[in-house]
């Protein structure tokens, strides 16, 4: 056993010995009121209270005891040792021993040393404070440690009693205590009243270990304050713990004339702050205005405590509006007391457009002890370091952009995109706008909101404007010149919109109601029935639009419900169309859009029943398609590693295809994966990308909107833009490879089944599986199930339990003409209105029966024997399962129990393949791109289509071919990590003469022609690149 006592333990023992000798009072002993506690000269102490000088306030230090070493915090899992424990702001002894903290006394002087603790009226609750000088040792590694030295200064607190029937202010005249608040001064204190008990102590400059020890078990203490000011009256509720601001402005012109005032308020970013009157909370909090102050002088202090300390989240933005100057500088001082000697921090920031901002941390700024680190001051250094000017914030962004450029390693002058619009905001204040815009331009952003003209010219940026969240065309046009109106090319009239007009609104509006009845008549006609046969009424005038089905609906009701829902979306188009046309009247070059969110469709909801992404552009009610992704690498990305964005983009493209509108996308750069998302969108034909959105974060109420704080996205954006740059003309003006495969987004199913089977996830995963096999694919809707539109496609995936009989008939004809139809379990078993459909059984040559309770377990694996259409495969089927009963069709797969799991029905020149499960979900659940269902899913498609024009052997990727007279480009994006270090194999079919093949980011590549194909060895893909064939 090692009997050596460590130096620190020796020091503690010494302290204990010394304190024992000076403290003669026993805990709980009752004192005579006339007795002088601890032998101090109370008259002398109190006499010094007559001073009025606060000039020594700047030499003050507070330390919250609950942060001291040896205090067990509530809920801590640390084993200790702990001899005291914290309860809220107070600490109390839980055993024998001391708690301590290091303080760095700045100068030798007499300090008034306050202990904030609870006293009794007639008993002593003693605790000893010792201040032990420290000797520092710095080891070779630069680490400094401290050991105790002498002489120890100590004092026993808690011998003062509050009894005697005196009021607080009378007690203060007689005893060395200060009460917390005015209410205590006029009242007779009770046991347990919290006071600041003080003692004047001589201290030398240097580090001391402050310790509390020898404590009565009843001790409840919370703070230690050392100050040279004897006039300062401590109070955690009134004087300590506050935050004050004052300002001094300087005009950029140098003429410091006139006056200025500052209107200040806090903007929150991490969540709304609840208030008594606003249950939803507020995102901002006013601080107040300063009085008009002559330029160059300091304004009076204003208090900001209530805005800053309890604010939600780690920090917020201090927004400052400066009247009196438009540009210049503003100095901001932060003080813990409304006195110039209590200023703890001065910051200087630029003023632009009469505004300035700083970032401030939330919570109590008071000093907290740091183990082994001597500290001094009223506020913690950590808090003060978090007070940042906008210049400091933005400077970090410039550094990150520079690092991104170094990592990417491209040369100066690397081509950047022009035809593809990459837009983002530049929300810094005017004083920093030029630098920020230039930084963004270098990243490759080519349409920067608010960029100075000089930057637009220098970098050839798009010189257009946009407007957001307005439906007032005339109001927006008011005061704008013709040139300005021509410049406005993009207007958002609705954000994260729903498109369903409420049935009650339709019923109450005679015109809408009339159109609804005409719509019903038309639907009856399309079904080949009279209105009476179709809906059970001979007069439609009494038929209401309905919003929901009863529990056991009848046939007429189901038809009416389906059509009511359809019409509810169409009715909305009328209003949006009118708004869109109004904007077109005033702004000749404008594209009008609404933004659709995946939240109600894929994340929190299951259908498009409240917000149909297709309906408005298909009905000319918006002229620019648009959606957003909110896709993170985690659950909001639906486990697709950002690739869900590609599917969302395909949905938007489906909406605009009918009228040939362009489409754009809020690329969720703020959620990560910018490069993959940009590529996913462009590969589906998007051309207006808003990299949502560059900050700083301080401009947003809700902080998750900004990507400026995400260092990794600077590289990601730069990587994407610089990859596109050399192929910009090919991608921006060329044509995408034709899509010969389509996936049906079945709205009838969503309307009638309310998301049963979560089929849109199956469609998404099917889409991803096909994209991973380099099969270009479109999303289509039921409107496209007509002979003309279906001619474009050779393969079609359908799902959804409901499909109109006329659509089944069209699809059947298409199959007979040579199409390959692949249907998931339950497909078209009902017509669009929920009646059983015999047409589907005829199309598939098989009946299907839902696997119900009695026979649903265990299904086991589905087993495909090798056949004309599928390779041999065995995997776990995903999604709701159906047993198939082939009639004309041939079984090609079985469940473990022997039931038919897939059947192929040859019809004319084509085939209808019916699966008893969901193919996309099966792909997802069986290893995704690296799993065994990948080749299985693509097999029947490739069998029909033959070799694809582009083949790329890196799994979990998208490879998209663009062709232009100037060359070919293959966009490559890797989802789920970089490709192998050695690169991958890319094969491109082209008859064109190819002289040069290069990577937009990595330069020339090895390639050779093999027949009609160009075989290319690509380099590591991380995460995107474009291969250009010239």
């Amino acid at each position: 056993m090692n009997l050596e006592i460590p130096i620190r333990a020796q020091a503690l023992l010494l302290i204990v010995a010394l304190v024992s000798s000076v403290c003669s009072l026993r805990a709980g002993e009752i004192l005579d009121l006339d007795e002088k506690p601890g032998g101090d000269d109370i008259a002398k102490l109190l006499g010094e209270e007559l001073t009025t000088d606060l000039s020594l306030l700047n030499v003050s230090h507070v330390s919250m005891l609950n942060t001291w070493e040896g205090v067990k915090q509530h809920g801590t899992k640390s084993p200790g040792p702990f001899t005291w424990q914290a309860e809220g702001a107070f600490v109390m002894p839980s055993g024998e021993g001391a708690i301590s903290a290091l303080i760095d006394v700045p100068e030798s002087a007499t300090y008034r040393v306050y202990l904030r603790h609870q006293l009794a009226t007639n008993t002593a609750i003693a605790v000893t404070l010792s201040l032990t000088p420290q000797i520092s040792n710095t080891d070779a590694a630069g680490k400094t440690t401290f050991v105790d030295a002498e002489p120890v200064v100590s004092h026993v607190y808690g011998q003062t009693r509050l009894g005697g029937g005196l009021r607080g202010k009378e007690i203060e005249k007689q005893r060395p205590v200060r009460f917390e608040g005015d209410e205590h001064l006029v009242a007779t204190p009770t046991d347990g009243t919290t006071v600041w008990e003080f003692r004047d102590l001589e201290l030398k400059k240097g580090v001391y270990r402050a310790a509390l020890l020898k404590a009565d078990k009843r001790v409840r203490a919370s703070a230690l304050l050392l100050t040279r000011s004897k006039d300062f009256r401590p109070s955690l509720s009134n004087s300590i713990g506050k935050i004050y601001l004052r300002f001094r402005a300087s005009d950029a012109s140098g003429q410091q004339r006139g006056k200025f005032s500052v209107d200040s308020g806090l903007g929150y970013h991490w969540g709304p702050r609840p208030t008594k009157t606003n249950s939803e909370g507020v995102w901002s909090w006013p601080i107040g205005n300063t009085a008009a102050t002559p330029m160059g002088q300091w304004s009076p202090f204003i208090e900001a405590t209530e805005a800053i300390v309890p604010g939600p989240g780690p920090w917020s933005t201090l927004n400052l509006g400066i009247s009196g100057i438009a540009s210049g500088t503003l100095e901001v001082q932060f003080a813990w007391f409304a006195h110039e000697k209590a200023v703890a921090l001065t910051q200087k920031t630029g003023v632009g457009g009469g505004r300035a901002l700083l970032r401030v941390p939330h919570g109590n700024w008071l000093n907290a002890a740091e183990p082994g680190v001597p500290v001094w001051g009223m506020w913690s250094g950590k808090s003060l370091k978090q007070v940042l000017t906008q210049e400091a914030i933005v400077e970090r962004y410039f550094v990150w952009a520079q690092k991104a450029a170094e990592r990417l390693g491209v040369k100066e002058g690397h081509p950047l995109p022009k035809n593809v619009r990459l837009y983002c905001g530049c929300g810094v204040l005017p004083s920093n706008q030029e630098r920020a815009a230039e930084m963004l331009a270098k990243l490759g952003v080519n349409w920067i909101d608010g960029a100075p003209q000089s930057i637009k010219t220098k970098y050839g940026l798009h010189d257009e404007t946009s407007a957001f969240n307005t439906s007032d065309a005339a109001g927006l046009a008011a005061g704008k010149s013709e040139a300005e109106r021509k410049k406005l090319t993009k207007i958002k009239i609705g954000d994260e919109i729903g498109t369903l007009t409420d049935a009650a609104v339709i019923n109450a509006d005679p015109a809408r109601r009339e159109r609804f009845h005409a719509f019903l008549s038309e639907a009856a006609g399309q079904s080949g029935m009279s209105v009476n046969d179709f809906l059970g009424v001979d007069d439609l005038s009494a038929v209401d639009c309905i919003s929901h089905l009863s529990d056991n609906p009848g046939r007429y009701e189901r038809r009416l419900y389906h059509l009511s829902h359809r019409f509810g979306h169409l009715a909305t188009c009328d209003d949006y169309r009118r708004t869109t046309q109004a904007f077109e009247k005033y702004f000749p070059n404008v594209r009008v859009y609404n933004n659709y969110s995946p939240h109600p469709v894929f994340l929190t909801g299951t259908t498009m029943n409240h917000g149909d992404w297709f309906i408005l552009p298909r009905n000319k009610a918006q002229t620019l398609g648009w959606a957003e992704d909110w896709a993170t690498g985690g659950s909001w990305g639906l486990g697709t590693h950002y690739q869900c964005t590609s599917f969302y983009a395909a949905l938007v493209e489906c909406g605009v295809r009918k009228h040939g509108y362009p489409f754009g996308f809020y690329v969720g750069t703020n959620c990560g994966g910018s490069a993959e998302k940009i590529f996913g969108c462009l590969a589906q034909g998007a051309s207006w990308l808003h990299l949502y959105d560059w900050g700083p974060i301080d401009r947003w109420a809700e902080g998750s909107n900004a990507w400026s704080e995400h260092e990794g996205e600077y590289y990601s954006v730069m990587c994407a833009s610089h990859a596109i740059g050399p192929a910009d003309e090919i991608i921006g003006r060329g044509k995408r490879e034709a899509r010969r495969t389509a996936i049906l987004y079945n709205r009838s199913h969503e309307i009638m089944q309310e998301g049963a089977g979560r089929l849109n996830h199956d469609w998404m995963w099917t889409f991803i599986a096909l994209k991973g096999a380099q099969i270009p694919v479109d999303v289509i809707i039921e409107e496209d199930l007509n002979a003309d539109d279906l001619k474009r496609y050779d393969c079609l995936f359908v799902g959804g339990y409901n499909l109109a009989k006329q659509h089944v008939a069209v699809v059947k004809k298409w199959v007979e003409a040579g199409g390959v139809l692949i249907a998931s379990g339950g497909s078209a078993q009902y017509d669009a209105y929920g009646d059983a459909s015999s047409e589907a059984a005829e199309l598939f040559g098989a009946r299907q029966k839902a696997v119900s309770g009695k026979n649903k377990t265990p299904l086991g694996a589905v087993k495909f024997a090798a056949s004309d259409d599928f390779p041999a495969a065995e995997f776990i089927p995903g999604g709701p399962a159906f047993f198939l009963q082939p009639a004309a069709a041939k079984s090609v797969a079985t469940y473990a129990g022997g039931e038919c799991a897939a059947a192929v029905n040859v019809l004319g020149k084509g085939k209808a393949i019916l699966l008893g499960f969901q193919p996309g979900v099966s792909y997802r659940d069986n290893g995704r791109a690296a799993g065994k269902a990948r080749a299985w899913l693509a097999a029947p498609v490739l069998k029909r289509l033959g070799r694809q024009r582009v083949e790329f052997d890196h799994y979990a990727s998208e490879a998209t071919l663009f062709e232009h007279e100037s060359g070919l480009a293959v966009m490559l994006a890797s989802f789920g990590g970089p490709s192998p270090e050695g690169g991958s194999q890319l094969s491109v079919q082209t008859d064109r003469q190819v002289k040069e093949v290069f990577s937009a980011l990595r330069g020339p590549l090895e390639w050779k022609r093999a027949g009609e194909r160009i075989e290319i060895k690509t380099k590591r893909l991380e995460p995107v690149d474009v291969i250009v064939l010239k």
Binding site: A504, V505, A511, G536, V537, N552, E557, S852, G853, K854
Partner: protein
């Protein structure tokens, strides 16, 4: 009581001339007036532009008239359309009237407050320009349906306003000019209740006394000319001034068939139970009870998240018991609204539970069937397949069915399986007891199957053609079945043989068998707003047209007063004893409840 003496005046051919198909677009002069509205102004230029946009009329802004219903000179009669925003504060109705040469008015357009589409980023009320324009177009298209009508003049009228007594500026305002919207609203209400209001003196004249108190109104119409009768309603919420006025005027119509009405709620309501002491109704917000003798609200349930959270099932006695069946199942005391939990399980549909007065409850949740007594679980079984039909609780037995055609009978107390039958049927919806049988609907063949409670044997099948709306006993030996394909059938319980049937011309809202005056009758409501009373052969005895579409279930009360709120303490209410007779109560989709006496 004096009969109403109505002078029916055929309107001049003016309206018809305006819009005869194929004729040139009508020339219209539009005046725009805002009466009592503070929430927004109607842009007259935008309205004119909108009306001219479609090419169906030639509209111009008229010279400003002296009053909203005073034709401006020199606009010819028939060319003038008075567009009026009338209301209180921002709760405005947008109205468009057309007056003939004799001062008779018809309502071309009525866009009520709160029924206007607004862009997603707009929350305040905007006068609905396009909606008004479009509905004027439609209003002009159908003059024939408006005629003939009895004319009605608002003779004297008065409005008194008593502001919030707690407000510092509380004051009573009492002058006719202080209530400019009232006259316009009266005219619109008269139009919608089947009259032709006139700006000129006619043979039928009414006095309207409207007293607006803080957040409530007392409306009273009394004879002032040819019309006989007095109607009065108190405590109408401010959002319902118009609805109450419309129904007051409806009651004054000859043979309207309704003895009185009451306002249950500000949105649609459906009845859960009714007696002469208490009416309980479900609304979109929860359940409430009111006393029809005083019209006063008795209780209101805590808000329910689901609009169909409350339902009523018939108890063994035949009277409905009220349940709240979301989250769990609770029985609701109609006297107090107190809820007592019967089962912690909640059913998947309104029909998927059954309960008994003794505290027993059985609940179907997917494939689980559970039985409870006073919230304590008796047993729970996993049926493997989802229960899609029933359950039904009768004579200590539980019956339930599946979409796979499985019918199962359990003992209530021990869950012991009594019998199990498999039939070729996709069973859906409620099971209904008819004597010793129960009926089950099969979606696969759209038939009603009658099943023996004793052994599960199928006794007969009745092809209905669609899902049932109502199945209930009719007399001792028959049952009444109404299907959602508009079919009403009376058939023999023992054989399923049809005794009478009728195909209704439109959708039925509810069908109810009632026994009154020694006869068993069928009462039904349909979406046209009609209440029909049928005899034992399903022949129509009487038809009543309500001013709004019926909503929810009919309720029959053997003794119900003729007047709603007639026993109230208000001094100026109608005097005299109110007679009680058998009555059917029906609610509409605007929150009103009507009393219809069965002869």
């Amino acid at each position: 009581m004096r009969h109403l003496q109505l002078c029916i005046i055929l309107c001049s051919g003016l309206f018809c001339l305006l819009l005869t198909a194929g004729e040139a677009a009508p020339k219209l002069q539009i005046s725009v007036t805002a009466l009592g509205v503070t929430g927004g102004t109607l842009e007259a230029d935008a309205l004119i532009a909108q009306m001219n946009e479609g090419g169906w009329c030639t509209a111009a802004l008229s010279p400003r008239p002296t009053r909203w219903n005073k034709r401006p000179e020199p606009v010819p009669p028939g060319e003038w359309v008075s567009v009026v925003l009338a209301g209180f504060g921002n709760q405005a109705h947008a109205l468009a009237f057309q007056f003939d040469a004799r001062g008779g008015a018809r309502l071309l357009s009525h866009v009520p407050y709160g029924q206007t589409w607004l862009p997603s980023n707009v929350t305040k009320w905007i006068p609905p320009v396009s909606q008004i324009a479009e509905s004027i177009r439609l209003g002009l298209k159908k003059p024939a349906a408006e005629l003939p009508r009895a004319t009605l003049t608002l003779g004297e009228w008065a409005g008194r306003e008593e502001k919030d007594p707690a407000a510092p500026s509380a004051a009573t305002v009492s002058n006719r000019e202080g209530f400019p919207p009232l006259e316009a609203l009266f005219c619109a209400a008269a139009c919608e209740s089947g009259w032709m209001p006139s700006a000129e003196q006619t043979d039928n004249s009414l006095k309207l006394d409207a007293r607006f108190e803080f957040k409530s109104a007392a409306l009273k119409v009394t004879q002032a000319g040819g019309v006989s009768g007095t109607q009065q309603k108190l405590d109408a919420a401010e959002t319902h001034y118009f609805g109450v006025l419309k129904r007051l005027l409806f009651l004054l119509k000859k043979d309207c068939g309704v003895s009185d009405f009451g306002l249950l709620n500000e949105t649609r309501a459906r009845l859960l139970s009714a007696s002469s002491e208490r009416i309980v109704a479900a609304t979109d917000a929860g359940a409430l009870a009111c006393d029809p003798r005083t019209g006063k609200r008795l209780w209101t349930s805590p808000p329910a998240k689901h609009p169909d959270a409350f339902t009523a099932h018939p108890a063994a006695s035949g009277a409905p018991r009220i349940y709240r069946f979301t989250r769990d199942i609770a029985v609701v005391d109609p006297a107090t609204g107190a809820q007592k939990t019967l089962s912690p399980d909640a059913p998947h549909a309104q029909y998927a539970f059954a309960a008994h007065e003794d505290g027993a409850a059985v609940v179907a949740q997917g494939s689980l069937l559970s039985a409870h007594r006073n919230a304590a679980m008796l047993w729970r079984k996993d049926g493997s397949d989802s229960f899609s039909a029933g359950p039904l609780l009768a004579d200590g037995l539980i019956f339930a069915g599946t979409a796979q055609g499985e019918l199962i009978c359990f003992g209530l107390n021990d869950g012991a399986e009594k019998w199990r039958k498999s039939i070729e049927a996709e069973l859906r919806g409620p099971l209904s007891a008819c004597g010793k049988l129960f009926t089950a609907y099969s979606k696969s063949d759209d038939s009603l199957h009658a099943i023996s409670m004793a052994d599960g044997a199928v006794r007969w099948k009745l092809p209905l053609g669609d899902a049932p709306l109502e199945v209930s006993s009719f007399g001792a030996n028959q049952f009444l079945a109404a299907a959602k394909n508009n079919r009403i059938v009376l058939a023999e319980i023992e054989t399923g043989k049809i005794a009478a049937e009728v195909r209704w011309p439109t959708w039925l809202v509810d069908v109810l068998a009632v026994s009154a005056g020694g006869r068993t009758l069928v009462v039904c409501t349909d979406i046209r707003g009609r209440v029909s009373i049928l005899d034992e052969k399903l022949k129509t005895l009487r038809e009543i047209s309500l001013p709004a579409r019926p909503n929810g279930e009919l309720m029959f009360v053997q003794q119900f007063p003729a007047k709603w709120g007639a026993a109230g303490a208000e001094p100026d209410l109608l005097d005299g004893e109110v007679k009680k007779t058998p009555a059917v109560l029906v609610t509409d989709n605007e929150g009103f409840c009507y009393i219809i006496h069965i002869p």
